[in-house]
Symmetry: C2
Subunit: 409 residues, 2 copies
């Protein structure tokens, strides 16, 4: 703890010069004059993506047409893409399938888990979890006549567990505060109670170290830290021990054991492939795979180390501003984001964005800053903190134009 007064921009530039993963910044397109602290929402565009997508459009689709299901590997994209995501969550080949969107995958994972725990009637969910997790669990519970037991972020998990619980659905990293759960310990306690553990890794993968070993299912998106593009395919992890028994309730032909024999009856494909449903959006996979080429060269320990250093620096530089830190102060309990609570959070964020610092606002009072270690520099953190200080000290957020709510933020 040096105190913010002793941290200089030159000092931050020196940290960048010594950063072992600083070269990855050159892999990304970043708009001029912007400090992009929204990689936790929509990751930046990799430079190589445009050419990869163009190739999929003009060569694979335009010239080779349907032959590309074989020759360009379109048919196997869910598995081949999943296998490239697997190392980022501590999974092995054949354990991850990339497809659909996260909400769909939550639906599939929870439905499958319920079927694996017949006679148990309760799904445990986090009342502070990202809303779609809650909404989908509510839909599953209503459709299949199950009960939901919600826990708060502070409540002991044990209060919710018991012999009636079939499955527990939690986020590894909280989307609002960035608080990290102890994955191994939670999984252990859930298993002790006889339930299955489903992790949502949306705010973890590519940001913190993930070791999914031991869990039953996991889901996640690829458009945040993984930079797969807006609405890029999600993924599901299915533990090998469940793959033979787990059933995909949305049993479409892409999950069939022998899809081109056009049999009248559904027979699930072996392994994780059974969690595929319909025709994959090939262009979206092309963008995602461009980004995954970069991730294959990344040492996740170096990413995590830089993530910690960036968020520590930002907290250090902003600690004197009188904001309420909503994120855990201890780096080991924090993902790659820093959030503050402020009753004027909305106009503060609007003013910041106007000045080139892109974070976001989450109702009712949270401002969030995400730190994507592959393309953010220490000087960016320094500049962002300075701009935030200016917005607050000059009360720039009081301007009328920042008060009006936009439709979507």
């Amino acid at each position: 703890m040096m105190g913010y007064m002793s941290i200089t921009r030159a000092g931050c530039a020196a940290l960048d010069a010594a950063d072992p993963i600083s070269d990855f910044r050159d892999e990304f397109v970043l708009p001029d004059g912007v400090v992009y602290l929204l990689g936790n929402s929509l990751g930046a565009l990799p430079r190589r993506t445009a050419a990869k997508v163009a190739h999929a459009v003009t060569a694979e689709w335009g010239q080779d047409l349907g032959a590309s299901w074989n020759t360009a590997g379109w048919w196997n994209l869910p598995e081949t893409t999943g296998d490239r995501i697997a190392p980022l969550i501590g999974a092995g080949p054949g354990e991850v399938l990339a497809a659909d969107c996260t909400s769909m995958m939550i639906f599939k994972a929870v439905s499958a888990a319920l079927a694996l725990r017949p006679g148990r009637n309760v799904i445990v969910s986090d009342s502070e979890n990202f809303p779609t997790d809650q909404y989908v669990v509510q839909g599953v519970a209503q459709a299949f006549g199950r009960e939901i037991r919600e826990i708060g972020p502070q409540a002991p998990l044990e209060d919710a567990l018991g012999p009636g619980v079939a499955a527990v659905v939690l986020s590894h990293v909280d989307y609002r505060t960035g608080a990290v759960r102890d994955m191994a310990e939670v999984t252990r306690r859930v298993h002790e109670s006889g339930a299955l553990m489903i992790w949502d890794l949306c705010h973890s993968t590519g940001a913190v170290l993930v070791d999914i070993t031991g869990a039953d299912f996991a889901v996640g998106c690829t458009y945040k830290y993984l930079n797969g593009g807006p609405g890029a395919p999600a993924y599901i992890y299915v533990a090998p021990r469940h793959q033979e028994a787990a059933r995909n309730v949305i049993s479409g032909w892409h999950g069939h054991a022998n899809p081109f024999e056009f049999e009248p009856g559904y027979r699930p494909a072996p392994g994780v492939r059974r969690f595929a449903t319909g025709t994959p959006p090939v262009l979206a996979y092309a963008a995602l795979n461009a980004s995954l080429e970069i991730w294959e060269k990344v040492d996740m320990r170096a990413v995590r180390a830089k993530s910690v250093a960036l968020t520590e620096l930002f907290i250090e530089l902003t600690d004197h501003l009188g904001l309420e830190l909503a994120s855990p102060r201890h780096a080991g309990e924090r993902g790659s984001q820093v959030s503050f609570r402020h009753p004027e959070g909305y106009p503060i964020m609007r003013a910041l964005i106007d000045m080139g610092v892109h974070g976001d606002f989450r109702a009712p009072d949270l401002i969030r800053f995400g730190f994507a270690p592959l393309y953010l520099r220490y000087v960016d953190v320094y500049d962002a903190a300075n701009t935030l200080a200016e917005v607050l000290s000059k009360e720039l957020w009081r301007e009328d134009r920042y008060q009006k709510r936009l439709t979507v933020t």
Copy 2:
């Protein structure tokens, strides 16, 4: 009926010269030396698509990043894209949502229909329907404890209908034979029995005239005749009278009434939007919307007239070859494809493809030729028929290299 001997290539060229929609061919990229008769499987690439997708990648994503959820209309893509599809199926604004894949949409439509007909336990399905329709219905039936009653293509629908039937799922155009069902009449009879009618329009939209008025739900894909690209978003039609009561069982945040308030409880959005689930694959929508720009300029009656003329010509030119016509001989009962049965169908199709005529094979013995009226010429039909005649008369399909099965065709 002129008889094939009197039809010349010059005569076909004259038909092309007089074709009122011949200019649309210039909108498409078609590989050199190929007669592409697979528009019923994967539509050809529109010329304008590459630039539209590149814009979505480099400008919307790369430069504007998350702001594009507002500024580029990403958030509303499911509705805006659906509204552009609607006229092609006789639907109005706010009745169609573009999202997910067809199999997902079948799952959503069947689940919603069951909930709208409580106490009725049976789903009627076509044993000859495209397999994913059957597989998904089987999954729904198993998940919700319902019964499936299958009808064959020739069996009278009345035998299957009755007071226990909640919903009927049928394809408008049969994927194998191209046989067209009388949509209005079938819907009428299904309604008389008190059940809901769900149409699969995958092989209809953009190929035959569709008037969905009166039906309850419909689903379809956009990568066949609509040329939206491999794995382009599917769509669902929900009749206005059901929109308030119908429930999306996969209740994700994109179908929420107020998604950015991050409420703990799911509340469905008004209208068809509630059938959205998760984050839409933006790049896939960019490709689809490029193609839909073309469709906005198309007169579907002209498309259907040319479709009939093309398939009639192909049947006429191939009638003497001794193939068993699997498609209806009467044009009014036929979609935009011609299928034949032949025990050596697989090597015949392999040989044809080798000679530049691209159709496909469907087990056990079907060879299919699709005729996309926007980019196919009468001379293409002539050349394809001549090549087929050569493959058969010279028995080119007997070559060893055509006998070996590829993984995916």
